[in-house]
Symmetry: C2
Subunit: 210 residues, 2 copies
DNA sequence: CCATCACCCGACCGATCGGTCGGTCGGTTG
DNA sequence: CAACCGACCGACCGATCGGTCGGGTGATGG
């Protein structure tokens, strides 16, 4: 475990990410973040202008991490089915590796900005990268529909289904099959989830009558 | 619009439901709820013991409303496929009719209880009814799998997919197809969503090669 | 006519919120 | 040596948090 004495700024971002993921923007105080990072509260404001700015910096990191993994998939030159399968795999992998991602992303996707933080440059960039990522997925689906490989669907609806089925799955308790409560992010569980989604999108749930 | 001068208690519950759905437990103050209900803050504490108690009373109403609509479906004596279809229809209808339901439910499903509210009797009842509802859906799926009508799946995973695909859809902005931003809860949009889900679970997304 | 009651309110409480201020410390620079 | 610097901190600010308290009001009923 090489701990290269990571800078205070990164340390703050890390603990803030964990806390915001768990309890949301309003549920976490700056003092709590500071003590969790081993600093005084005032020191946070040396590195970040305000609480919203810190929040969106955290969120931006998360969204960008995800974007960087998804972008090559949607930009690749394979067939629509393989692209969809790879998208599911990469998405599930990314969400499983960092448990904070799903929760922060889910909050970002459905939560309203109580106070108008939208003018923050960090918030604007977040929204931009996120929109870009989602639009990439839409394009992937649209291509498949145009090529006749996918059924004619509302791609917007399908994206939401895909997001809901993945992000929500990892954001919620991940109850697992029989092993209630256990964290259960084993490689086996992850590949099981991928298989479920592959099958659902390939064949649906209902067994073919013939 | 018959306004039967609904009791202050119900008025409080209504406005609190709307506010909690929008900004979550931590994001809403008692004073805001009070003024929105046309009362003084102290009056809230005449009807409800504490803020968590009010929150879980709100949540309980929502969950029970949903439970009451879903229970007859899972208890009915039709085939698994029809049951699934009806489940989707009823679920989508319920979420579309009251936009607060999806958001409150989503929060309840994935948010952690920051402070241990779990000892509240209202919270316990919430969790009970919710667990009962989810278990009913699991039973529905399990029956279908046992009867060979559904593919062999992890029913827990499938429930989460179903929840994610419906609850998340209505909790998020519901961007709609091309009409960005518009509320768009028209009957047409709702039945479109049902159709998408029916098709997904019946056939998947990929067009059959033969 | 008076007691009771549900209902409602303004004033207030201690705690905590995000954020500021003045200042200390250790490490470059010249 | 002095001058400067980023990192950090304790003390403090006004505002707001959930919650309490005592008292007011209007309808009810003996």
């Amino acid at each position: 475990m090489a701990l290269p004495t990571l800078s205070s700024r990164d340390k703050i971002l890390d603990v803030a990410e964990a806390l915001f993921a768990r309890r949301g923007f309003e549920g976490v105080g700056m003092r709590e973040i500071a003590t969790a990072a081993g600093l005084g509260k005032s020191s946070l404001f040396h590195h970040f202008r305000s609480k919203p700015q810190l929040y969106y910096e955290v969120l931006g990191r998360v969204i960008e991490r995800l974007h960087d993994r998804l972008a090559p998939v949607v930009a690749s030159h394979s067939g629509s089915i393989e692209k969809l399968d790879r998208l599911i795999d990469v998405l599930v992998d990314a969400l499983a590796e960092q448990p904070t991602t799903a929760r922060l992303l889910l909050r970002a996707l459905f939560e309203e900005d109580a106070t108008a933080h939208d003018q923050l440059p960090e918030a604007i960039k977040c929204e931009q990268v996120l929109a870009d990522t989602l639009e990439g997925i839409q394009r992937l689906l649209r291509e498949g529909v145009d090529a006749g490989v996918f059924r004619s669907v509302s791609v917007a609806h399908t994206v939401q289904t895909l997001i809901g089925a993945t992000v929500y799955h990892f954001a919620s308790g991940e109850l697992g099959d029989g092993l209630l409560g256990r964290p259960l992010l084993s490689a086996e569980a992850v590949s099981r989830r991928k298989e479920e989604l592959h099958n659902l999108f390939h064949h649906g749930l209902v067994v073919r009558p013939a």
